[in-house]
Amino acid sequence: MAKENLSVWTSISFWRRSAAWVTGFATILLIWLTFDTMGQISMGTDADLQKGITKRVPAPTVINYHIDYKMSEKRGHEVPVIGKKEPFFGKEWSVKDAAALLHLGKLTSQSKNCMDCHTLLGNGAYYAPDLTKAWLDPMWGATMQGMTGKSTREEAMAEFLQHPEKYPTHARMMPNLKITPKEAQGLVAFLKHLSSIDTNGFPRGFSKTVDQFKAGGTNAH
């Protein structure tokens, strides 16, 4: 430069060095936090489930357990609660079979492009309901089991996924994505596993007051 810089605040080399330091520092902090997060979000094991050890992302065998989503006084929001064992599609799944089923379900969720209508963990498109806690949705109780003629939540979901056009609930309908019976089972396992992930309380107050809302009127009587 022809003339001496009078102030550091207009010195290009000062800003270049500062930019490099700040970027480097932020990157190192991100990498360090990433290592910590990787440890916390890697999948738990079947042994964890048996011993009642809570993992943010449980093992695939979580499909053998009852899952609920309850307010935690300590954390100030709802958390997944893994309860007693319950049959899934009429049986208990081995470690290997549960993992294979979840693998099929995750692959199917991607190859059918669920995420470009629905949101998963709140990410995706906004044309259809969020699926984070879809396994726990009250609609899979009497309403959809009645419509599909099935007697369990998982069977009703699997039937709906294979023939969504047969069970319309709104003008905006899910299209038939040629999902096979096996893929449908995989998807239901994927959704059940998804609902067991600790999402720090998202979504809040899941499906809490739909019945009250539908009943109408006031609560003042």
């Binding site: 290009i12 700040v22 991100l30 190859s111 492009n113 990410n123 906004y126 309380g201 499906s207």
Partner: protein, 475 residues
Amino acid sequence: MLINIKSNSLTNTGQRIGLMYFRVAIILFAAQLLMGLIAATQFVYPSFLYGIFDFSVARMVHINALVVWMLYAMIGATYYMLTDETGEEVVMAGLGKLAFWVLTLAITVVVLVFIFVQIGPGTEKSIWLINEGREYLEAPRWADIGIVVVVLIFYANVFFTFLKGRKTGIMQVMVANLLALAGLYLAGMFFTDNISMDQYWWWWVIHLWVEATWEVFVGTLAAYALIKFIGAKREIVEMWLWIEVLMLFGSGILGLGHHYFWIGTPEYWWEIGALFSALEPVPLVAMFVHVLYDWGKEQGINGDKPTITNGPGMAWIVTNAFGNFLGAGIWGFFHTLPQVNIYTHGTQFTSAHGHLAFFGAYATILIGMMYMGVQGAYGVKRLKATFNSKMAITLITFGLLGMTVALTIAGYEQVLVERAELGGGWQAFFTAQNLPWYVQAQLWRLIMGLVTFVGFIYLVLDLLTIGKKAKAAEA
């Protein structure tokens, strides 16, 4: 049609390759808008193309065409300034041209498969050949690998030309930033059964692109454009560029945390994400101030009569300064704190922000660069805005603002009714979707989308004709 843009006046290889990329970018831009119109229509009339061309398909092509046209325009702009900035012809230019054709062929195949095959069975093969099914990164794995190879060639062109030639501040930032931009794509190229892990790395690509490396890229483009369009002094522009890099990376890298509130990741991301993403608008204010300051103060600094050498280009750069601040800054800040985001996450609020941010931060400046390309292609000394230029910028900006406002209103309804009142879920979702005010908002979004599309037609017309007219007028 786009071949009509003559490139006889281009004096160097970088500019010629740049123009090749710009032409394809415009075609993909058109595809993005058409797909958006289909998806917006389906929100209002759900039976439209149901079972034939479902929302998921239209939406997938909508967002992928968006990302790819922007990458094309970014690569094009980089080539365009490469020779001019370094003072050297592009090293291995032939390979660069070959890479362009390979990439264009690959993109064409991917889009045709998206449109005609759409989905596959739940196997690894589908992920490799048809659709990866991860929002924004739907391109199948074979295409991912192809993209990496092509980008490496592009990077080699830039890097070796840079080594050989002048090392301006703009080029230093460009070379470092492009390496990060290209490297980050690798974080999105694996499959896992663990969806939390999946989304953790998925955000490394999406966020560290659009809220860090792409923003820095915009900074370099704006710096170069200000020198070209209004004759701003290089020292001032480059000093600002380093300040922008400092602030963009300082806030944007850890701002990544705002995507880690609810995907299974630990609570400490609440604090980190909230703090750093709240700082993200700061550099956008700086960029805004910088552009307007230079516009007012730097023009004609060398004692020349103040002139803007590229009217429409400069208009888009100024729109970028406003749009980046409003769309990325304000609309992002709206819902970046976890206390707010727990209700707004995954609603039309996100969509409103997405539309104005991608437009304001990226589309605007890339259109400005296309005007720079047209000016160079015809060798015009001073490009003045035509009626078409004015119609294009007015209608597109008005249409985008209209869509954003409509989607914000829709998002507001959705947040209060679906999330706050009913707590999400199947019935809660549709209760909110069927509210009259929500439905009206979606209708307005469609109307404003049409306005945007009309503006786009003016834009294409203008890009095709403005150079020839200006050249004739100068002669």
